[in-house]
Amino acid sequence: MNLDAKKDIWGNYQKEIANDHYFYLRSCVRQNFFPGAETTFLRIIKDELKKDIFEDPAHTTCTGIGYHGDIVPFETTMTIVARQFSLMTENGYENLVPSCITSFGLYSEVIETWDHYPQLLEKTRQNLKKATGREFVLPANLAHASDIIYKFRDEISAKAKYKLINAETGQPLRIVEHIGCHYSKMFPHKSIGGAEYPYVLIGMIESWGGEVVDYPERRHCCGFGFRQYLVKANRGFTFACTKKKFDSMEPYKPDMIITNCPGCPMFLDKGQFAISQLEGKSYGENGMGIPVFTFEEVAGLVLGYDPWDIGLQVHQIAVEPLLNKMGVKYDPEKKYLGLNDKYLGIPQMEKELNTCC
């Protein structure tokens, strides 16, 4: 066997990720649905890894949901993206780290388009200049936030207070990993592992002691589909996709699900609730759901952060079964408290709602 050739092949599945000095762009979806995940990501990058990461208050949406909802023309989207690059340039950064997978895919698409059509890059420069007076430089490095955690997974593991291991049995937790479609299906060479072997979450799971569960519909979309979820009349599509995934993974009895896209954990979490309401079906143990997490939340749990600081109380599917398996210490009385332990009431769960606690 020609080992050099083999090395070249695997080289196609590798990705260069900047080591420090990141320009962070927030996710519209993650901010609304999992605010604690972004807070946790920045805490890890700054406090644990001692890296420089900067956020400009003037950055905005990339228009991703509007673009894929087909209301925003590509020329507009390219210029909004160019404005984000301009803010990065203006602040002296060159390593772009979006929190959102739709954004990551869109930045990849825009950069690839400009590579294929230099005249569109020039047109975008003119548009941005005319609209805002701004200029920009393309990022030297584009990495999704999950790429950064992947890069430092072993450093996180070295500081771990808990591992992805059943504290009672000592066995690895069985974990489903779900990669957002726009992370690697569109531009495989911009991801870790490509579309066939996306390794970004597997790397974290293996480093932190868990066991990856394979199942037939592992790479099926969560069902968001932009307009398919946004409009009530189309939402059957979304939850048909979700159900297809859960029916497929159920026989493999996963302990938890980890995702790298901001939207997917919402659909896999709320989708289980919707299916329980529509069909009386739940997929986890003892009539409960399968807890769903973002990668930032899991990294925070591994590092021993308080689950309610990470934001696990905003999940519809109860996370306690997983916390108990990991042996995580937490105060159940503090789950639904606000700042300074202010009492905010508790969610009004129905008794038969067996996907919740």
Binding site: C28, I80, A233
Partner: protein, 236 residues
């Protein structure tokens, strides 16, 4: 080559998305929308490749082009480097340009997306701004979401957000100057023009259907397009 195809081929999405289709059907096999809807991306690709304006016009006026979820799974799998999902983006853009989108149930939904997502982009600087978007329209969100809606700002602050505040942070107030730049970009690059077309053609259709349509989303036409489903979309 017909006039509609001439317009389509100007779109970089079509140039990038359609090389030469061999009709193998791999895209249809991988497509989540093809599994759920009466939808076949291979067929769409073939019609566009034929450059038959009559068939393209039928497509632009149909529900069919609105079934794709833009997951782009087809891009990974096509053995010839085509991306039906990109072809769909070009078709949807032209359907809105021509006003054909109001001829189909699924196409008419664009006005709802424009007024919600489009409104948040221009007025807030975010694609989503969900305080006040409760379980009435989104029952799947469940009781924890109800609790969050009742305590929106409190929970946000508890989890480290700079909710509606100055400076960086989660759901901060985007500075007015930044929002003005976004609006200028929409003006210069055709974003406003598309928004205006969606509004104009939708107003014409609402009039034709004798439905009330005024500002916002709390009116007869918007409620109709948001919720109506003739159940003829997935006979499989």
């Amino acid at each position: 080559m017909g006039k509609l195809y001439e317009e389509l081929i100007k779109d970089v999405h079509l140039q990038e998305g359609l090389k030469a289709c061999i009709n193998c059907g791999t895209c249809t096999a991988i497509c989540p929308a093809a599994e759920f809807y009466n939808y076949d991306p291979r067929e769409i690709t073939d019609i566009v490749q034929e450059q038959d304006d009559k068939k393209i016009e039928e497509l632009l006026k149909s529900d069919t082009i609105w079934y794709c979820s833009e997951c782009m799974s087809c891009k990974t799998r096509c053995p010839r480097g085509n991306t039906p999902g990109q072809i769909i983006i070009a078709l949807r853009a032209l359907s809105q340009e021509m006003g054909y989108f109001t001829e189909s149930e699924k196409g008419r939904q664009q006005l709802y997306i424009k007024r919600t997502i489009g409104g948040w982009i221009l007025n807030r600087g975010y694609c989503l701004y969900l305080e006040g978007v409760g379980t009435n329209g989104h029952p799947e969100q469940g009781p924890v979401w109800d609790w969050r809606q009742q305590n929106w700002a409190e929970v946000m602050k508890r989890l480290g957000a700079n909710y509606e505040g100055k400076g960086p942070g989660i759901l901060r107030k985007i500075p007015d100057e930044a929002l003005e730049e976004i609006r200028q970009i929409f003006e210069v690059t055709g974003g406003n023009k598309r928004f205006d077309k969606i509004e104009k053609f939708s107003a014409d259709k609402a009039k034709e259907m004798e439905m009330k349509l005024d500002d916002g989303t709390d009116n007869e036409y918007i409620k109709f397009i948001y919720s109506i489903n003739n159940n003829n979309h997935n006979s499989k």
